[in-house]
Symmetry: C2
Subunit: 212 residues, 2 copies
DNA sequence: GTAAAACTACCTAACGTAAGGTAGGTTTTT
DNA sequence: AAAAACCTACCTTACGTTAGGTAGTTTTAC
C-alpha cells in the first residue's frame, strides 16, 4: 500500500462504478492537489486563487465554479487530508498481523517523505502556524486532525506496552504528545535550518527510547 | 532576572546619559512590540500595516517613517527577538553557579509563558510555518534563531552529561534536536487542540528521560 | 543669545497592484 | 438538448508604498 501524503501524484481514483480505473485527474482534484501543495510550502494566507489557477492551467474565476470561496477550498483540502490518514491508520489498527512497531514505522513514513521534499511540512502544521488567522471552520478541521493522530498514537503505544513490545514510563497519552510534537516540530525546524538529517535523528531518538 | 519573550512589556530603556530611567516607550518600540505580538498570533503574511497602526495609535503610512518596508520591520522584529534570547542564554552559560538542569529549566520558562497565553507561539516557529513565503533576509534570521538555540542546547546537554548530572544515550546534538522540536511543536499543536497541559507533559517527558 | 537651518515624528491624500468574488456568456461533454 | 466546465469582464476592498506637508524639537552659526 502506498499512500502519498505530501506530493500530489494521485493517478487513480475510484469511479462511481466502484472499479479502480486509470483516469484523467479531474480539475477539481487538481485544484485540491495544488492548493495542498502550496499551503504546505507557503501557508494559507500567502497563497491566492491566481497562484492556484496558474498552476492548474485555468483562469482565476473558474476556481469558484468548484469551490464557493477560499475558505470552502481550504476546508475541503484539510478534510481530504484528514481522510487519507484516517483510512490508512484505521487499516493499520484493524490488521492484527501488524505489530505496534510496524504500525509506528508506517506512521513515520509520510513525515519522512515530507522531509525529503525540503520545502514542505505537514499541511496541518502549516495551518496551525497561522491558526489565529484562519476561518473558524478551518480551525476546527485542523484541531480534529491533531486529535485524530494523538488518539491513534496513544492507542498504538498502549497496545505495544501491553504486549511487552514497548517499554516506557510515561502514560501512552503523554508519549503521544511527545511523538507528534517532535515530528511536526522537526519538519518545521529542519526546513528553516536546511539540516535535513534532523527528522531522522529525532525518529531514532523516539524509537530508541521505546526499547529501554 | 525576568525576561519577557512573549508579552510586550518593555517599560525601561537606557537613556543617552547611561542611566536607567522610567521612560515612555518610543513609538518605534511600540511598533516592534505589537508587530511581534501579532506575528506570534497570526503570522507575518496575515498582518498588515493597518492592523499594526491601529494598535499603536498612529496612521498607517507613519510606520514607514520608522521602518522602510514590511520586510525591514519583520527583520527588525526577529533580530530583537534573537538578541533577547542571546543575552539571556549567554548569561546562563557564563554563570558557573548555575547547574545544567537549572539552565534547562530556565530555558523552558519562555515556552511555558507562551503556552499560558493560549493564542501565541514562538515568533520564529510562526515564521518558520510560512517559511517559503518569507523574504530571503527574514528566512536567514529565522534559520539563525534555530541554529543559536540548537547550539546552546547541545552545549548545556553536553555539560550536564560530562558532569554526571544528566544520563542519556543519544549525542547531545541529537537530543538538542528532540528538545527544540518537541517544545516548538508542542506550542503549535496545543494552541490548535486547546489542550493546554500538553507542553507541561512534554517538558516532564523530556526532563524525566535525562535522569534514567 | 538668538535666529536660521535641519531634523523628527507624525499627518492627509493618493498611487498602482492584487486580492476574493460576481455576472453572464461561451464552449465542451454527456 | 441539457448540464457541466470554463471563459471574459468587472467589482469592491485592501494591500504596501510614495508624495508632500505641518508642526515641534534640536542643532548649528554668528
Amino acid at each position: 500500500m502506498v499512500v502519498n501524503f505530501g506530493a500530489n501524484t494521485a493517478q487513480f481514483k475510484e469511479t462511481s462504478k466502484g472499479f479502480m480505473e486509470n483516469t484523467v485527474v479531474s480539475t477539481k482534484d487538481k485544484i485540491l492537489d495544488i492548493s495542498q501543495d502550496l499551503i504546505q510550502k507557503r501557508g494559507f494566507n500567502a497563497i491566492s486563487f491566481q497562484d492556484i489557477a496558474d498552476l492548474v492551467g485555468i483562469k482565476k474565476p473558474s476556481i469558484t465554479h468548484h469551490f464557493a470561496s477560499k475558505e470552502a477550498l481550504g476546508i475541503a483540502v484539510v478534510q481530504r487530508y484528514r481522510n487519507v490518514f484516517s483510512i490508512a491508520l484505521n487499516r493499520l489498527t484493524n490488521d492484527e498481523t501488524v505489530t505496534a512497531m510496524q504500525a509506528l514505522r508506517f506512521y513515520f513514513t509520510p513525515y519522512q517523505d515530507l522531509g525529503e521534499t525540503g520545502d514542505k511540512i505537514c499541511l496541518c502544521a502549516s495551518l496551525a502556524g497561522e491558526f489565529m488567522a484562519l476561518p473558524a471552520d478551518m480551525q476546527t478541521e485542523v484541531a480534529h486532525f491533531f486529535d485524530d493522530h494523538l488518539n491513534w498514537l496513544e492507542g498504538i503505544l498502549a497496545k505495544g506496552k501491553k504486549s511487552g513490545e514497548f517499554n516506557f514510563n510515561e502514560t501512552p497519552k503523554d508519549l503521544a504528545y511527545l511523538f507528534i510534537d517532535a515530528l511536526q516540530g522537526s519538519l518545521i525546524v529542519q526546513r528553516a535550518t536546511k539540516n535535513f538529517t534532523q527528522l531522522d535523528r529525532v525518529i531514532a531518538s523516539l524509537t530508541e527510547r521505546l526499547k529501554s
